[in-house]
Every structure is written in C-alpha cells, then in structure tokens.
C-alpha cells in the first residue's frame, strides 16, 4: 500500500483558500482556548494552597517538632531520676505535643501517607498494643533508637509513649526504675522526635518542600496533575477527617463493627483519656482550614466559597458548634463513656454526621470539587 502526499503547490491549485478558512478559524480558537484555560499565577486556589502550606501546615508541624523534642528531653529527665514530678512533666509534654499533631490531622496526606514517606503511621498508629510492648521489654533484643526505628509501627510513636507514661500498669515511677523499660521509653521518645523532625522537614521549603508540591500543582508538582486535584484534595480532607473521627474514633469503640458490643480497648489515647480532646483538636484544625485565621489574615476555604458566591459560614459554624457541644457533653473519658454514656457518644457522632454531610455533599457540590480519582472520569 503506497500513499503519496500531494504537494502543497498541487493542492493550492485545486483547493480554494476559503475551504481552509473554517479550519484556520477553528485552529485560532483552539489556540486561544489552550492559552487561556490554564491554571495561572493569579489563581485564588494556588494562592490559598501556597499560604496554607507555608503558613498553616509547616508551622503546625514545626510546633509538633519542637514539642516532640520537649517530650524526648522530659523523658530523659524522667529516666535520669524517676519521680512523680518528672512523670507529670513528661506527661504534660506528651499532651502538649499531641495538640498540634491532632490539629494537623486534616492534612494527613503527602509525607503523612504517601508510600515514599509514610511518616504518619510511624508517629501515630493506634490503639497501642500493650502485650507486644511488654513482650519486647521483657525480651533481650537491643533497645535503642536505631533498633526502634526498624520496628513495626505498633512498637513506636505517640501511642507507645502514651502507654509507657500513662498506663497505670506500666508507668509508675517504681516501674520506670527498670532500666530496660525506661530505655525503651527514652528510645521511643527519641525516635518520635526524629520522626516529628522528618515530617516537619518533609513539608518545609528548607527541607523536602512538599509545600511546594502542593502549591505547584499542575505545574511543577509530581504529586498532583492539576491545581483542581490539589485544591480538591485539601478541601475533601476536611470531610474525610470528620468521617474518620466518626468511624474509627467513635464508631469502633461504640461497637459499630461488633454488633453493638462496646470496644473501649480500641479508643484513641485511651491511657491518657485524651480521646475527646484529640477530636476537638481535629475539629480545630478543620475550623482553621475552613475559616482561616483572621489574626494572621490567613484566608480559608470559606473565602474561596464566598468568592464563588457560596456562603457556608453560618451553616458551618452551627454544625461545628453543635459537634463541639455534643463532644464536650461526654463527661468521662471516651473508653469509659462508650459503656456509661453511650447515648451521648452517639449524639456526638450524629452531630458530626451533620458536619460531614455539609462538607462532603453541600460544600463539595457547590464548589464542584468531587474528587476525580483518575481522568477515567467524565462522559
């Protein structure tokens, strides 16, 4: 089969110029569309992503980094001289470190979960497994930060430090006289501090600059192909966070997966009794992402929605307030409440459902941010 392309000169003689006019016009329109439909410098979403990553996410992880270092220092002091005061100081340091990390949970993507990092699970895989921890302590394997770093996620991180500092069975000053137990605690706290530093630096422009990945979506980013994908991911994360709270932090302990049989052992922060505080910190993170921070003139999702003619402020505030009120009505630690105040816990879950639906249905539809998981989407 041989095909000859006609010469341009030959065609010019047989094709009137006007026949090409429609196609030249079309080509011009297409070129104009190509030039204009890009997601450019002045895009509000890009500005928001830039500011959120550098003024919200990086500072949160910097705070967590610094506070984790304080945990390591206070644990060193505890092991150097076990006492009630030293134990209280270490516990306080742990509680303080927990706060920015839980507020940052709405940003649990990127270095937190991407396969090349997966730092999040090394910091916060819960619930702790006391049997495994005690078995390791009772064993003869070396106990040092390097060894701990190689162990599975349930041998390290905030929940393990929590168990060793708060569990009545594991954390009395007398028990911490046990050199191997305290060395395990010291190593875990040191490993935690190094992971906190790692996630901070992974986001920081001075380190791995994942913040740049977020704000460079659709241009230089290898993590997101389009600006819409990146922006959609961040906004959708608010809904996912609330969903995770309802499913994992409230639902599982309530017995949603076990036919109504309460499971207090799968409560988050069960040794410190901080579970409800953890959730409230999660909500604080969502609140700042949505409303921004007026003190720093930091805009939130709300400002973008308003710019698009969609004002969700009042509804969001109401749903968030109702959730907080319901959570604060739980008067005992969650592990206990799932047995003694189950109705209140369920009420909190119901209020959070309102918030979840507001985000995942109303807000996402209004902003056209349904996640496209691949461009096998469309019609």
């Amino acid at each position: 089969m041989k095909l000859n392309l006609p010469s341009l000169a030959g065609r010019a003689g047989t094709q009137p110029r006007s026949r090409f006019l429609p196609f030249l016009t079309a080509a011009g329109c297409v070129a104009a569309l190509l030039g204009c439909a890009s997601e450019g410098e002045g895009d509000t979403r890009r500005t928001l992503l830039e500011r959120w990553s550098t003024e919200l996410i990086v500072p949160l992880y910097a705070e967590f980094d610094q506070r984790s270092e304080t945990v390591a220092v206070s644990v060193d002091a505890l092991c150097a001289g076990p006492s009630e005061q030293a134990l209280a100081a270490a516990r306080e340091a742990w509680q303080a470190a927990r706060e920015p990390f839980k507020r940052a949970e709405v940003f649990a993507f990127g270095p937190y979960s991407r396969p090349e990092f997966r730092i999040g699970p090394k910091i916060d895989s819960w619930p702790a497994r006391p049997e495994q921890i005690e078995e390791w302590i009772a064993g003869e394997s070396p106990v040092d930060p390097a060894t701990i770093a190689e162990l599975g996620v349930f041998y390290k991180g905030l929940p393990v430090v929590e168990y060793l500092l708060f569990s009545p069975q594991a954390s009395t000053p007398a028990q911490l006289e046990d050199a191997r137990r305290c060395e395990y605690l010291r190593s875990t706290a040191a490993e935690l501090a190094s992971r906190a530093r790692e996630i901070h630096m992974a986001w920081s422009p001075e380190g791995g600059d994942f913040a740049g990945q977020l704000s460079g979506a659709g241009r230089t980013s290898t993590a997101w192909r389009t600006l819409r994908d990146a922006f959609g991911e961040v906004v959708n994360r608010m809904g996912f966070t609330v969903e995770n709270v309802r499913r994992d932090k409230l639902g599982r302990p309530l017995g949603d997966m076990t036919g109504g049989l309460a499971q207090p052992d799968v409560t988050e922060s069960r040794f410190s009794g901080r579970a409800i505080r953890d959730i409230l910190d999660n909500l604080s993170g969502i609140e700042v992402l949505f409303f921004g921070d007026p003190a720093r003139s930091l805009p939130g999702v709300s400002s973008y929605a308003i710019e698009r003619g969609e004002n969700f402020d009042q509804r969001f505030r109401t749903a968030l307030g109702a959730s907080r009120t319901a959570l604060e009505a739980v008067s005992v630690p969650l592990g206990e409440a799932v047995n003694t105040e189950a109705d209140r816990v369920r009420e909190a879950s119901e209020r959070l459902r309102e918030l979840q639906q507001l985000i995942q249905v109303d807000l996402i539809t209004a902003l056209g941010l349904s996640l496209n998981f691949n461009d096998n989407d469309g019609d």
């Binding site: 089969m1 041989k2 095909l3 000859n4 392309l5 006609p6 065609r11 047989t14 094709q15 026949r19 429609p22 196609f23 016009t25 079309a26 329109c29 297409v30 569309l33 190509l34 030039g35 204009c36 439909a37 890009s38 997601e39 450019g40 002045g42 895009d43 509000t44 979403r45 890009r46 819409r228 969903e243 309802r246 499913r247 639902g251 949603d256 997966m257 076990t258 036919g259 109504g260 698009r308 979840q356 639906q357 995942q360 249905v361 109303d362 996402i364 539809t365 209004a366 902003l367 056209g368 349904s370 996640l371 496209n372 998981f373 691949n374 461009d375 096998n376 989407d377 469309g378 019609d379």
Partner: protein, 470 residues
Amino acid sequence: MTATERTGPRLAEGRSGTSHAPNLSLARCLEYCNAERDGAGLGAFRALFGALLCFSVARFWAYGWIEELYLRPPFHFTYFGFGWVRPWPPLGMYAHFGVMALAAACLCIGLASRLSSFVFFLAFTYAELIEKASYLNHYYFVSLVTLLLATMPSGAELSFDAWLRRRRGQAPLRARAWCYALIRAQLTLLYLFAGFAKLNRDWLLAAEPLGTWLALHADAPLIGPLLGSRGAAYFASFAGAAFDLSIPFWLSWRRSRPWAYAIALVFHVGVWLLFPIGVFSWVMMASTTIFFDPSWPRRWLRTRATPPPLEAVSPSGRLGRAPLGLAGAYLVLQLVVPLRFVLYPGDVNWHEQGFRFAWRVMLVEKAGQVEFTVLTGADERRYVVYPRELLTPLQYKMMSTQPDMIQQFARHLQQTFQAQGHERVRVYAEAWASLNGRPRQRLIDPGVDLANEPWSLWPKRWILPLQNSS
C-alpha cells in the same frame, strides 16, 4: 481531477451530500442501502477510531487503571443480568487488555478489519461489564461502533486488507451506503439524545451544572472572569444544547459542513480543556468525520491505485432483507433504550433509572454520602458499615449517588454477613445526595430494608423523590 471525479459519480454522494429521498418500498430501500460508496471515508474513520482505541488502551494500562478498576476491588458492581462477568486473574486481565490493544492496532491499520473490530468489541465490552462504576457514555459508544464496524467492510480502503487483496489479485471490497448511514444514524442519535436531555430546568433556567464547572476556571488568565460569570454559564448551556441538537444536520449538509466541523472542533477541544472527560472529545472529533463526503481522504492522501472497475468489485457487503431488518431493529433499539427513562416516575437525573446507555452527557454534578446499618438476628444486633473503607474511591463516589448501586452493595453486605453465620440480615441505607447545587436531601428511604427488596429493573419505590425537581 478531484478524487470524487476519479472515482466516478456512482461512488460519490449527490451534490447536496445528504441521503437520497426516502422511498418506502423495500426494493428501493435495499437499492439505496447497497449503492456503492467510496470506502476511503469509512477507512479513515476506522483508522482514526482504531488509533484512538489503541491510545486509550495504552493509556489505561500505563495509568494503572487495570489494577485500580479491575484487580484491586474485592467487590464489583456488575450490570443487571451480567453478574457472571468477573475479572480474570491478574495475568489474564493484562492479557485481556493486550488482546484489546492488538485488536485496536489491527483495526487502525486495517488488518483483518472485521475480525479485529469484533475481537475488540468482545474484549472491551466484557471489561466494561465487569464494573458499573467505570461506566462512561463514550465507552458505550465505543462498544456500539466496534460492533457496527464488525458488520461492514471498513477495510475496503486505506487498509492492509485492501493492499493484501490487490496483491493476491482478489476483487476489492467496496463500502456501501448502508455502512455510512448506520454510523451516521448512530452518531445522530447520540447527539440528539444528548441535546434533548439538556432541555430541562437545571440546564436552561439555572445553567447548571455548567455554571459550577465553568466557575472552576474563573481564575484562568484573560477569559477567567468571563468563564466565572453567570452569563457565560447560560451562554454555554444554550450553545451546548443547540450544538447537540443541530450538529448532525449541519455536518450532513455539504455547504455548512466545513464550518460545522470547525465549530465541532472548537466545541470538543473546549470541552476537553475545561472538563475532565478523558478521550471522549477526541473520539467525537474522529467520529464526526463519517459525515464528510466519502471521498474526503483522497483530498488529503492521494492513492496511486485507481479505483477498481465495478465489475471487478466483490459482491460482499450487500444487504439482503434479513440484514436490513437487523439493521432496522438495531436502530429501533437505539431509539428505544435511551427513552426508557419515561417508564420511571420522577427526575431521571436524580433516581438514575434509565440514565445509563441513554447519552445523558454532562448533565449532573452530584455528591453523596452513604452509610449502611446492618441488623442481624432476632435480637437485632446492629452494625454500621462505612463503605468507603470497603470500596475504591471511584466505586464509593459513584455508588454514593446512584440508588441501584446502593442496593447492590446492600445485597452484597447481606451475603457477606450471611456467610459469616448471621441470620435474618437486614440492610438499611442512610444516603444523602445533592444534585446540581441543590441543598442535600435524602436519596433513599432509611426505613426500607434494601437487601430484601426485589433486585429488578422495575421502578424502585424506596428512592425518595427529588424536591425542587427539574
């Protein structure tokens, strides 16, 4: 001498480029359908279509969608009556797509055109039937067109088949009028149904969902503010409906064809740039070339071989009464299937009964949230199932707004619990959704045990009606 002149008047269409006046007599109908046409246009259509299919399969593979859509999910949403369609083991699934790619490549170059088209149709359709969550209108269109190509001599020109026949001294194949007519009819139905589906309150009076989607580009340079305006949304809505409702006719009329195709190019490229619709636009741009004069490729590619004398042409490809009846039945089916939504009360964009296979393109922006409560045994042990952790993101996204998929998953949960030894398993859905910017509302009656509702195509009484319907 132009290509049309060279191939002779019998091979070209009339001056208007449109069909001959219809004649109701069967003989005249057969005579018209079997009239010979230059196969170059059909060959170019086949080659372009095959190239796009080849690209699509390669892209599907390269992006990891075989794994994501077929291998990873432990559960698949199959189509009613096709529950037996299951993915192969991993190696088999990759081989399946390998066969598909090979068939697409053969179709593109015109090697064993009919067979490769039929193989592609079978392999592609099987893959599509595995997972309802991945349904796309243009996938359905691909299935239909490859089926049609398998029935016609699309390799008559611009193909290895033609070259081989010449080398072997065999009589060349010739395209006939019915080949063009059938594909044009298919495309016309697609556009018209897509256009009619846009004649509703949301599209015309609220400019939704285009208003929401275009506003996403409000920050684009130069045209951003324009795209973000309501005026642009209304203009795009009306223009889109007018385009769909009229483009087949403008493309059929020879005098308007160049401008119509230019507009189609701008329209489809614009849609491709603004919305995440994959290769759909390119499929349509390639497909609409079938409306051109059948000799159009000869203006761009001049073959050395002169068209064969007519007496040497193979008689194959002629329609008899029975094939003509089949073609007619096919078109009637294509007319009826998209209209089946009228049998279901309520807004089809909301309940989605009769939504698929109906060319209802780009009509909805929906988001949903769904959870299931499972009650088992006489003591009503209560389980809450959060389906996001059991489904892929795409499956969850699709299921959360599509009632039949919600019921399908409820039935799956029932089977799963029964397999674990539970008795009297009842499944209820807490499902909320929003359509085209409306406030969210319940999609499913939360008091209905979905697992024990009939699994059928009859209207589903447990879908709650849309408030403020379009």
